[in-house]
């Protein structure tokens, strides 16, 4: 593949990571804890849309190689993730009398419950959406870019959602309230913002985006009960890279981590080509910069960022 090809793949994967990391970051800044159930919220979205898609099937015409029914399923996935998250907030997190570390630990329990229910219902095997696998877009192949219309749909939908979120945050009352609350929760209450409601909306939006990310992850790869949990650390890496609690930082971090992840094979050819000295370093780098370690590289970047800039590359966490 060419550099362009890797970049294109990176763009698709980044779209998914960005959707996941925005939600995680929103919840981090407004509910004030690291939500370890976020990855499994993505899984919920993916499986709900799988079931919905099975029911509505190839409804109507098609856009970008996807039948309208798929978009119905996407909406269902988003809705399910949001509803489950709000229910969890109301039933579990809100009544708890623990600090943010206690909430973090609780969210691990929640993650397991989500995943277990899905696994009991669907088994632990991989599944796919009942869609014809597409061939790469012909006109791009000469450039070494092998992406399908489905990939394009992922990127396009992610762009729509991200722009939508941007509009919501910047130009609506709810968005301003959310930013105000992330900025200064005490002053938000003093100003008359009913913070509990805003928090619920944060869950709706954060989990909804996660649900969408889950659906696209299922479309990009395949579905399994572990799909979200497996991605969780990559998403954390993105959020930390962008600066915890910063939505726009999470977008940037998600983009970078997604790119790095997909560009790993390219980096490895670069490393092989470079005259690195001493020899053992070259060997070590060649061994480590391989597709198998794509995630490990993301985690190492995350730890390095935490060490050097605990506030992330976007600096102080301002939404």
């Amino acid at each position: 593949m060419t550099v362009l090809g890797y970049l294109a793949n990176g763009l698709v994967f980044s779209s998914i990571i960005v959707l996941g990391s925005i939600g995680l970051s929103l919840v981090y800044s407004i509910a004030d804890f690291a939500n370890f159930a976020h990855g499994d919220t993505m899984t919920i979205g993916a499986y709900t849309s799988l079931v919905t898609f099975g029911a509505v099937g190839g409804l109507g015409g098609a856009v970008l190689g996807l039948p309208y029914g798929f978009f119905v399923a996407l909406v269902a996935g988003i809705a399910a993730a949001a509803i489950v998250a709000v229910g969890t907030e109301k039933l579990i997190y809100e009544p708890l009398d623990v600090d943010s570390i206690g909430l973090l630990i609780t969210s691990i329990g929640i993650a397991f419950i989500y995943r277990a229910v899905i696994q009991i219902r669907f088994g632990s095997d991989f599944t796919r959406f009942d869609l014809q696998p597409l061939r790469p877009i012909e006109s791009l192949v000469p450039y070494g870019v092998r992406i399908t219309l489905h990939d394009l749909a992922i990127v396009a939908s992610a762009v729509v959602l991200v722009v939508g979120l941007h509009v919501l945050l910047q130009y609506t009352d709810l968005g301003r309230k959310m930013r105000a609350m992330a900025d200064n929760p005490d002053l938000a209450r003093v100003s008359g913002i009913r913070t509990k409601r805003v928090k619920l909306w944060t869950w709706v939006i954060g989990a909804g985006l996660a649900g969408a990310g889950g659906v696209f992850l299922g479309l990009f790869n395949q579905l399994s009960p572990r799909m979200g949990f497996n991605l969780l650390l990559v998403i954390f890496a993105a959020v930390i890279l962008g600066g915890i609690g910063s939505v726009y930082g999470a977008m940037a971090g998600g983009f970078l981590i997604g790119m790095i992840n997909q560009l790993t094979p390219f980096f490895s050819t670069v490393v092989e080509a470079l005259p690195i000295w001493p020899g053992w370093l070259a060997t070590a780098l060649e061994n480590l910069i391989t597709i198998e370690y794509a995630n490990a590289i993301a985690f190492l970047i995350m730890v390095a960022v935490l060490l050097v800039r605990p506030n992330g590359i976007a600096g102080e966490g301002a939404t």
């Binding site: 930013r179 105000a180 100003s191 008359g192 939404t319």
Partner: protein, 250 residues
Amino acid sequence: MSDDTTGPADGVHDGTGPVLSLSNVDGGYGEVQVLDDLSVRLDPGEIVCLVGPNGAGKSTVLKTAFGMLTPWTGTVEYHGRDIGGMPPEEIVREGIGYVPQTDNVFGSLTIDENLRMGGVARDGGLDGVIETLYDRFPIIDEKRGSKAKTLSGGQRQVLAFARALVMEPDVLLIDEPSAGLAPNTADDVFDDVREVNDMETAILMVEQNVTKGLGISDRGYVLDQGTVRFEGTPEELLNDEEVSQLYLGG
């Protein structure tokens, strides 16, 4: 009182009673008692200044009046109605505004957005009120689209007032408006406090700078150890030997 669109007028014409009163309040943080049988009142249209040494419980009075702390015993009455323990986001809707001492603007929001946040509880007329406030405080009008964190200390304080005034409250609670400001800026801020008062808003203010705080006030209370030691006109309090002794020991 929830018909906040009618603004401050109904407080003034409501009769002769105080607009806000705390009566025999005990209270504090967690288990730590700060207020001890404290009573203060604020009449319509006046500026009242709370002074006293550090740890006397001045800020705690405001926080208790504004529902950020629940009184242990005693009552907090607004136009004769008990509002003790009502959460702050609801008290705002009753017609009381609060300007905290620090962190009193949303730094990552623009000036305009800060003012909009001040009006989230309004039913309507938001744009009109905001324009009026820009007219009144030109210093922030110039920077509508800038993030609040780019403002200077004095400008921030003005924005904090304006944010609280969007609701056109009957009562404004202000915690140490001059804190951290250079003397000249502080003077400007005190002028602004007076101006706010001219808009028929009664003000209960905590101030470290006794001379200046009392200087713009109609009445003052000297607090010590969570209770009122003296009450009187600014002149009475400023000339009282015991007041300065309270500050510097004696």
